[in-house]
Amino acid sequence: MRLHEYQAKEVFADAGIPTPDSQLAGTVEEAVDAAASIGYPVAVKAQVHVGGRGKAGGIELADSESELRDAADAILGMDLKGYRVERVLVEAAVDFVDELYVGVTMDRGRGRPVAMVSTRGGVDIEEVAAEEPDAIAREHVDPAFGMHPFQARKVVYEAGVDRDVAGDVASILRTLYQLWDERDGSDAEINPLMITSAESADSASDEREVIAADAVFNVDEDALFRQPELAEMEDEAGSGDELEAKADEYGFDYVRLDGNVGIIGNGAGLVMTTLDLVDYYGGSPANFLDVGGGAKAQRIANALDMVFSDDNVDSVVFNIFGGITRGDEVAGGINQALEEFDEIPKPVVVRLAGTNAEEGMAILNEELVTVEDTLEEAVQRAVEYAQEVSA
């Protein structure tokens, strides 16, 4: 789960990481009031879960109220890579001379946290990582000890950060690690971490300062049970997708895709395989929906309700391989859900295998669904149905 920038900045600021003055605004008038209290120039930044907001027109600078009105008006309500912008962050523009990248994530290959610093801040760090891996200094952290101060210094010096701000950057990196550790982060990033010039108006002491101009904090969803504050932030942020919100309510692993064959199955690997087979047989998957292990009848009915709610879906394939999950429970759920309709909204193909599959097959109402014996046959039939509808 990803926090919005304004939420991540709140969390960072509470921990003592310097961030620019900022306020959230949902209308142009709120943005004008915010800018008036912060003071121009300001940056206006779309609060949506999209990378590369700047390039896509989601971040604008404004020197005056009229520029701000134009910027806020353009960004609020815009469609940014499929997400509607409902709110902007109005933030003091930082007069900077250098930009750094600072991040903490889990290196799954080594099973250990890794801290990263690069002087190539302000750009797409994944491109830097792919093209010039040496431009990013890395330090692995022993999760039993946490990050020692020397490790923070080491990675900052290795990255080649200017000496007069190296101490501040090392201290910010340690704070970021501690946050990541205590708040169950999966990724914590500051990009860019801006370095001001000595003469900057913000710098009363004539010293260069560092300030987090952006903030990314992704939380491990499996750890939300012990991060109640962050869980609340998730509720506030929402996913922005009605179907995905419905999936959260039902407790399904669900991902919406572009195609027209709805897919329901049990177990992530098997559902992914079903998606791949739909594609292999010339169809296009509309979604990934994993009902999980041990699903009972009501859960199966909920899954059908979800997939039927997607207007793009032209046919549905059910692929259940029972281990904990029982075929008769699944069949009962399918019958129960479909018997409520006068007319079945979209053709449903069912394939049951594993625990109690035979019992399930025996009770499935074959007037309502098409039954196939193998995975391959079921997928092919669902693809045919979808093609007939779209033809």
Partner: protein, 290 residues
């Protein structure tokens, strides 16, 4: 022969008094697994399904000579349960079934694991089965059959699908290991392949991977360099879009293009591993290899 599990394996079930723990302890007993004890703090002295319960894993090891553990403990307490199992001297194998253990907890477990000789399988896995002999976990025993093919997989239900395809054709299995779909797991592909390579009765191996991480690429290099036993592969998630978590916490294609189905399939094929487009095609490949 088999790997990890055989007729002598003596199992303690951590969390045996919970719904899942009890149900699957019974299922394991019914399959013939030598379940000798349960371990649940505060429940010592009880008996579940005819099995004595101890307050600590160490107690179960001491009194019942347990040498393997299966963990059915809720996610918030599961890492602690695995630590307890790794701390108990005498356990060679710990199988963690629990789904949804926080990744940072697993990072600490993994670090501890590096200091022990114990094999950890999982978490978020279906377990380990030597058909006809013993199963440790939640796998449906009836679809497996004894034979000469080793199976290792990141996904539970996909394991069932592939094994079913094998069994239907009369191809039995030595041992099947579900290693789990989380970002940080104990036994990985290379560990499992090494075990199968060392087992004289395993004549071929099926490896089922999925998007996310680079374990499959690493396994491909290992196969190319060290393995004589032939391997057939399957990779789930060809159609998965980047940046979306596909159910498994580890199944996410990163934005920088690593961990994709294509990179994994290419790595396997470059090292002589035929990769099936469908589970059925994997069984075809295995038939050719045998």
């Amino acid at each position: 022969m088999s790997v990890l599990v055989d007729e002598d394996t003596r199992v303690v079930v951590q969390g045996i008094t919970g719904g899942e723990g009890r149900f699957h302890a019974e299922q394991m007993l019914e399959y013939g697994t030598n379940v000798v004890a349960g371990a649940v703090p505060g429940k010592g002295g009880q008996e579940i399904a005819g099995v004595p319960v101890y307050d600590t894993v160490q107690g179960a090891v001491r009194e019942e000579d347990a040498d393997a553990s299966v963990v059915f403990v809720p996610p918030a307490f599961a890492a602690d349960a695995v630590f307890e199992a790794l701390d108990a001297r005498g356990l060679d194998l710990v199988v963690a079934i629990t789904e949804g253990i926080p990744t940072q907890d697993m990072s600490r477990v993994y670090r501890r694991l590096e200091e022990t000789d114990t094999h950890l399988v999982g978490p978020n896995c279906p377990g380990v089965i030597t058909p006809g002999v013993a199963k440790l976990g939640i796998l449906p025993g009836n679809i497996f059959s004894a034979g000469r093919v080793g199976v290792v997989s990141r996904s539970g239900t996909l394991t069932y699908q592939v094994v079913d395809n094998l069994t239907q054709r009369g191809i039995g299995q030595t041992t099947a290991i579900g290693i789990g779909g989380d970002p940080i797991i104990g036994t990985d592909f290379v560990d499992a392949l090494e075990l199968f390579e060392g087992d004289p009765e395993t004549d071929a191996v099926v490896m089922c991977g999925e998007i996310g991480g680079e374990d499959e690429e690493e396994a491909a290099r290992y196969i190319g360099e060290y393995m004589d036993t032939p391997v057939a592969g399957f990779i789930a998630g060809r159609t998965a879009p980047p940046g979306k978590r596909m159910g498994h916490a580890g199944a996410i294609v990163s934005g920088s293009g690593t961990g994709t189905a294509d990179s994994k399939i290419t790595a396997l094929e470059d090292n002589g591993v035929p990769v099936g487009d469908t589970p059925e095609a994997v069984a075809d490949h295995v038939e050719d290899l045998l």
